[in-house]
C-alpha cells in the first residue's frame, strides 16, 4: 500500500497554488507573493478570502489521491483548480506535463473532455435526458456519432451495474444509482484522471460503503487515477492510496492512511484520527520495538522461539499471532532477519493509535 513507486509518472502536479476570492483578489495575490501575508492578514488588509493557500500536491498515474477536510477547508476549490473551473491566483498546475494556465479555451475544453473527468456531489444529471443519454453526454459534446457514443455509454453503464436502466430518466433512480450514472458518464469519456467532488456524501451509509468499494475496485481495474474529495476520514482511508488533509486552505499533511493515523503532524490531524479504528491500518513496523531494546528489557528471552511475522502485518493479524503463542511477543522478520519485536504493550499502543516512537515499555 505504501510502496508507491516514485518512478511513477506524475499526472497532476500543483506547485504552491493559491486561490484568493474577493474584489481585490489580484492586489491581495500580489501582496501574498511579495510579502508572504497570512490568511487573516489578507482578510484584514484586502477583505479577501483565501480559498487555497500554498497547496503542493502530486497525483501519480494509477493512484487514488484523497483530499480530506471539513467544509470551508478549500478542498472543493482545490479540486476545481485542477481542471481550471477556477483560475488560480498564482502557482503552477500541470496536468500530464502541460501547464494548464497556458491552454486556450479550445485546448482547455479538449483536455477536460479527454483527460479529466468529473463527478459531482449533486450528481448533476440532466433531468430531461435518459440514463443512456446522460452517460453519453460527454461524448456527445465531443461530436461522436450517436451509435458509437451510445455503445460506449452502454458499456460504461454496465460497468457500474446499470445496464438494464438505460431508458429510464434520472428521477426514476435512487440516489446511489444516480451517482453511478454520474460515474459512468465520467468513465465513458475514458479520461486518465477522474475528479470526484464528495460524490458519496449525500448517500446513506450502507450504499456509500458499497459504492466506495466498487469505485476503488473499478478505478484500479481500469488503471485510472482519481482525486477524491471527502469530509469523512474513514472514507478517505477506505478509498485513498494517499491522503491529504486540508485545514483553512492549507494542506497540513500528506501521506498514506497509516502514516496519517500513526504520525499525525499536529493536534488538528490527531483529533481526526482519534476516532479511527487502527486495527487494519497500523502495521507491525510502526509498533515494533527495536531488537536491542527488547533484549535489554528481557535479558533472558529467546528471540528465536517467538512466532514470526512480516513488517506489513496489521494489528488484527498481530493479535491473532499473539493469541496463538504462549509468549507475549511476536518477532518481526524481514529478509530472514529479525528486525524488531511487537510486545503486547506495543499492540495496545497500536490499537490506541500511538506510534512506536512514543512506546515506552517501562
Amino acid at each position: 500500500m505504501n510502496t508507491i513507486n516514485d518512478a511513477n509518472e506524475v499526472l497532476v502536479d500543483c506547485q504552491s497554488v493559491w486561490k484568493i476570492f474577493g474584489a481585490r483578489s489580484s492586489a491581495a495575490a500580489k501582496a501574498v507573493s511579495e510579502r508572504g501575508l497570512s490568511k487573516s492578514q489578507v482578510l484584514n488588509e484586502f477583505n479577501c478570502v483565501v480559498g487555497v493557500s500554498g497547496a503542493n500536491l502530486q497525483v501519480r498515474r494509477g493512484e487514488i489521491f484523497c483530499i480530506m477536510g471539513l467544509s470551508g477547508s478549500g478542498k472543493s476549490t482545490l479540486i476545481r483548480l485542477l481542471n481550471r473551473l477556477i483560475e488560480p491566483s498564482f502557482g503552477k498546475i500541470t496536468v500530464k506535463g502541460k501547464d494548464i494556465a497556458s491552454l486556450n479555451a479550445g485546448e482547455l475544453r479538449d483536455m477536460r473532455a479527454r483527460n479529466i473527468g468529473m463527478v459531482f456531489q449533486s450528481v448533476a444529471l440532466l433531468p430531461h435526458r435518459t440514463v443512456l443519454e446522460n452517460a453519453a453526454f460527454g461524448l456527445e459534446v465531443r461530436g461522436i456519432a450517436k451509435d458509437e457514443r451510445n455503445q460506449i455509454a452502454r458499456a460504461a453503464l454496465e460497468k457500474v451495474g446499470l445496464g438494464d436502466w438505460t431508458t429510464r430518466y434520472p428521477d426514476e433512480l435512487s440516489g446511489g444509482m444516480q451517482q453511478r450514472v454520474g460515474l459512468a458518464r465520467a468513465l465513458a469519456a475514458d479520461p486518465e484522471i477522474i475528479l470526484m467532488d464528495e460524490p458519496f456524501s449525500a448517500l446513506d451509509p450502507l450504499i456509500r460503503r458499497q459504492l466506495q468499494d466498487e469505485f476503488r475496485q473499478l478505478t484500479k481495474s481500469l488503471g485510472k487515477s482519481a482525486v477524491f474529495i471527502t469530509h469523512d476520514l474513514e472514507e478517505a482511508i477506505r478509498i485513498g492510496d494517499r491522503i491529504a488533509i486540508m485545514k483553512d486552505g492549507v494542506i497540513v499533511q500528506v501521506g498514506t492512511a497509516e502514516e496519517i493515523v500513526t504520525k499525525p503532524v499536529d493536534d488538528y490531524v490527531a483529533d481526526f484520527v482519534a476516532g479511527i479504528s487502527k486495527i487494519h491500518l497500523v502495521r507491525a513496523h510502526s509498533v515494533m520495538q527495536p531488537v536491542a531494546e527488547y533484549k535489554r528489557l528481557h535479558p533472558d528471552a529467546n528471540l528465536d522461539s517467538l512466532l514470526q511475522t512480516s513488517p506489513e502485518a496489521d494489528i488484527a493479524a498481530l493479535i491473532d499471532l499473539t493469541m496463538q503463542s504462549d509468549r507475549d511477543a511476536v518477532a518481526v522478520v524481514e529478509n530472514g532477519a529479525i528486525i524488531g519485536v511487537v510486545t503486547t504493550r506495543g499492540l495496545l499502543r497500536g490499537v490506541a493509535g500511538t506510534s512506536a516512537a512514543a512506546v515506552d515499555d517501562r
Binding site: N83, L85, L108, R109, D110, M111, R112, A113, R114, I116, G117, M118, F120, S122, V123, A124, L125, L126, P127, H128, F137, G138, E140, V141, R142, Y169, P170, D171, A189, L195
Partner: protein, 285 residues
C-alpha cells in the same frame, strides 16, 4: 412664478420626434410596413385558403399526429367554436396577427433575455425600460404607431410586439438565472462548447419557465390585438369594438369567447410543439 409654467410634458418633445422620424425616415417605415403587410397577408391567405370544414380536420389530424390527441381535441373544440360563432374569417385574421406578433416578440426578447441573464449591468439598464413598457397603458403605444404607420394592421402589430416583449424578456432572464449551477459546471467540466452548453443544458433546463414566458407573451399579445381593433386592425378586435360601440351584448360576448378560444388554441399548440418528445412534468433535479 406660476407653477403651471413648470409643467412637464414629455409628449411636447416626443411628438416632434415622431414627426421628424416620419418625414425623414418615411421610406424606411414604408418598407417596414410593406414587409409586415406581406408576411401578415401571406399567413392570413394560408389560414383562409381552405374553407373551415376542410381546414379544421387537417389541423386536427396534424396536431394528433405530431403533438398529442389531447391537444388535437382542444384544437378541434376551439376552432369549431370560432366557426360556429360566425367569426371564422375574423378569428383567422386575429390568429395571423397574434402569431406573427408573438414570433417577432420572441425573436427580439429571447436573445435580449439571455444577454440580461449573463450581464447584470445590461439587466439593470433594461429593467426600468421594461417596467415602463409594462405599466404604460397599451393605448398609448397605439398613438405613435398610428402616427408613423397610419391606421390598419401594421400599427396594431407594432404595438402588439412592443407589448409582448417585456414578459418574454423578463421570464427568459429568470429562466436562465434559474438553470442549476451544477449543471453549468458539468457542461464546463465535460469540455462542452458554449454553444453546446446553451443548446443541451441551458435551454432544456430553462424550458418550463420559458414556456410560461411564451404563454404570457401570447396572452398579452391577444389582449393588445383586441385593443388594436380600435385602430382598424380588423379581426376579432373589430368585432369586440363593434359590440361595444353599438352596445350589442351578444356580439361582444361571442367575439370575446372566440378570443378565449384562440388564446387556448395558441397556448396549447405552442406548448405542445415545444415540449414534443420530452417527458412532461419533469422538474430540474
Amino acid at each position: 412664478m406660476n407653477p403651471e409654467s413648470f409643467q412637464l410634458s414629455p409628449g411636447k418633445y416626443l411628438a416632434p420626434t415622431v414627426d421628424w422620424l416620419n418625414t425623414n425616415f418615411h421610406p424606411f417605415f414604408d418598407g417596414l410596413a410593406r414587409l409586415i403587410e406581406a408576411v401578415l397577408g401571406g399567413v392570413e391567405v394560408a389560414l383562409l385558403f381552405m374553407p373551415p370544414y376542410a381546414f379544421i380536420p387537417v389541423v386536427v389530424i396534424l396536431t394528433a399526429a405530431f403533438i398529442s390527441i389531447r391537444v388535437a381535441v382542444i384544437t378541434l373544440i376551439s376552432l369549431f367554436f370560432c366557426w360556429l360563432a360566425g367569426f371564422w374569417t375574423a378569428s383567422m385574421q386575429t390568429l395571423a396577427l397574434v402569431t406573427v406578433a408573438v414570433i417577432i416578440s420572441v425573436l427580439i426578447a429571447f436573445p435580449l433575455g439571455i444577454l440580461a441573464s449573463r450581464h447584470k449591468k445590461f439587466e439593470a439598464t433594461v429593467r426600468p425600460v421594461l417596467d415602463i413598457m409594462q405599466t404604460v397603458p397599451p393605448w398609448v403605444y397605439l398613438i405613435p404607431a398610428v402616427m408613423i404607420f397610419s391606421l390598419g394592421r401594421v400599427p396594431a402589430i407594432i404595438a402588439t410586439i412592443v407589448y409582448g416583449i417585456p414578459p418574454m424578456l423578463r421570464l427568459t432572464t429568470l429562466a436562465f438565472n434559474q438553470v442549476p449551477k451544477d449543471l453549468l459546471e458539468l457542461g464546463q467540466a465535460t469540455g462542452a462548447s458554449p454553444k453546446s452548453i446553451l443548446l443541451k443544458i441551458e435551454i432544456p433546463s430553462a424550458m418550463p419557465t420559458l414556456l410560461v414566458g411564451l404563454n404570457q407573451c401570447i396572452l398579452l399579445s391577444l389582449a393588445m390585438v383586441v385593443l388594436a381593433g380600435l385602430v382598424g386592425a380588423g379581426g376579432l378586435g373589430a368585432e369586440v369594438t363593434r359590440g361595444l360601440t353599438r352596445m350589442e351584448m351578444g356580439l361582444g360576448l361571442r367575439a370575446g369567447l372566440a378570443i378565449v378560444a384562440i388564446a387556448i388554441l395558441l397556448d396549447r399548440l405552442s406548448k405542445g410543439a415545444l415540449q414534443r418528445g420530452r417527458p412532461t412534468a419533469r422538474t430540474a433535479a
